[in-house]
Symmetry: C2
């Protein structure tokens, strides 16, 4: 027994991560809809057997569709998710899943009323084996209480994948903190088990790519909950000498040890990705996480079938999104470097 789902909105290639998680879990991809001709063509090549909808309503009105997955342009993700829930469907949004706090409020309300799932696909956690394994270790108390997390989310701007126009205007995706730091805020809440948190400070700036005046290439923020504190730094400054799009790190500081994740690359070190380093009261050791299973897709299918909440804590998904937007709103704008 499985579920049928649709891909609605292909504006960011993250849709393929969302699709992969569900297909790997045995779900059936029944429909797709896209706005951009080149994205539609690409999708058609990758999934020639999947039916293309002319209108989104064709999908929303198909009672055989259980879940809608979307990477439509960020500002349209929440309105689509709300419509999907009101049509009785569960929803998986690419991040950022929201571009305004009003959207979060409305989605929270409709989610509570309909009992549908509004999932936010935080790929730096769900699609990363080292992060999944760190979650398991932290849950087992391997490093005691997690009292601090520090995360770096650098990204490459040019040359990795073609980027549409709207990327170079912060308004399109709610700014760098909403877009990139949301991953790390999600991980702060998840690893520290915090059900609430405040933004202590946040900053954004265009410090290098001056040719895109509406773009933010750097941002950071601090979080604080009753249990822990967190620091998040994100940027679009990955240099060309790195063999991947970003040297994403996560440091978990516990009362009895610490964990470092080198998610995508171990610079000038071990090959591949999914590197976990742990130091506890016994030893310092390396754990290769390349063989770890990613449970997210199966859990989401289970949740859709059983009206459960195993893949992602619904309140945490909304809270991470809300905090990202608050951090962005409150951010001090950094001046130019001299």
């Amino acid at each position: 027994m499985t579920i049928r789902f649709a891909a609605v909105g292909l504006s960011h290639p993250h849709i393929y991560n969302q699709i992969k998680a569900l297909l790997d879990a045995g779900a059936e991809l029944a429909w797709f809809w896209g706005a951009e001709p080149e994205r539609i063509a690409e999708f058609g090549q990758r999934f020639p057997a999947v039916r293309q909808a002319r209108e989104i309503d064709e999908i929303l009105e198909d009672p055989g569709v259980d879940l809608v997955a979307s990477a439509v342009v960020p500002a349209e993700r929440a309105p689509l998710g709300i419509r999907a829930m009101l049509h009785g469907k569960d929803y998986s949004a690419a991040k950022p899943a929201f571009t305004t706090l009003e959207q979060v409020r409305e989605a929270r309300r409709v989610q509570a009323e309909t009992g549908r799932i509004y999932a936010v696909h935080f790929g730096e956690r769900f699609d990363n084996k080292a992060t999944v394994h760190a979650g398991e270790l932290a849950r087992q108390g391997a490093i005691g209480q997690v009292i601090q997390t520090t995360g770096f989310g650098p990204h490459r701007l040019l040359g990795h994948i073609p980027r549409p126009e709207w990327v170079f205007d912060s308004h399109g995706y709610g700014g760098i903190l909403n877009d990139l730091a949301s991953h790390q805020i999600d991980q702060f809440l998840y690893f520290t088990g915090s059900a609430s948190a405040e933004i202590v400070q946040s900053q954004v700036g265009n410090l290098h790519f001056r040719q895109f005046p509406l773009f933010e290439d750097f941002g950071d923020l601090n979080l604080r909950s009753e249990k822990a504190t967190g620091y998040v730094r994100v940027d679009w400054l990955t240099p060309r000498g790195l063999d991947t799009w970003g040297d994403v790190r996560l440091f978990l500081l516990g009362t009895e040890g610490y964990i470092e994740l080198r998610k995508n690359i171990d610079i000038a070190g071990r090959p591949g990705k999914d590197h976990l380093f742990m130091v506890d009261q016994q030893s310092a050791r390396y754990i290769d996480c390349s063989g770890v299973d990613l449970p997210y897709g199966s859990q989401l299918v289970y949740d859709v079938l059983n009206r459960a909440e195993t893949a992602q804590n619904q309140a945490q998904a909304f809270l991470a999104s809300e905090l990202s937007l608050i951090a962005q709103q409150q951010a001090v704008r950094l001046g130019a470097t001299p």
Copy 2:
């Protein structure tokens, strides 16, 4: 041609780093004075030929002494330095060199009036080969403009070296941010070339070692200057499984690349210390810094002889100390973990 110096105050073993830098540069250690019998005995064993003063004044009144180096208890470092300068001598203080802002003001005033040197021995920079080499690379523009620094300064509390009573009371050393984060604040100013900066936020807490109620085992802070931002995290939580006292890191984010220093250890990786990793527009590479020369001692001797300022920028030394104290004063006190 060289200088004669005295070791006045042996309360922290850092005095031996200060002495080593000067002896390696050819300076002559002429006198010592200490308060604690066990520290005096240890010093006598290490330097049996050095004359012990019964009173500090014996040293201050010896016209043959050019410089006084001190690791007296932190609260007495500035008063001693001020006396030394008023006696026409240069001064090297262990960090923290101050425990109150009033001390910084007074030392600044007397330093300006006398033209003497008030050096603060920031060992995480002066005694660390990877940090010295990173300074050289940054100065050459190897990673463009340094727009952000993140530093971790974890330390082991128990079992590494015996620690005197006053360590377990924050008042004795001005708190964890003044004591440990001052290193990293110094490095922020140095690597970003910032002549002024503000503390954006700071936090301290006793999150683990509840048996020492006056102790702070965690702290962090954010800095901002016109040129860059910085984040500093320090703690006393190094787990027993680590082969050294602390996995000290420094991350320099530049507009054209980044550098990571693993100063003391490369966990589950390369042996030894002094590890530098650099990613620029060409490649990602490892640089073993174990063969790098430490110029600090020779520069300080040169400065004493030539009334120069090559070892340490005097204004930066005061500013780093002042910012550390401000961060400590303003710090939000974190609650207990649940």
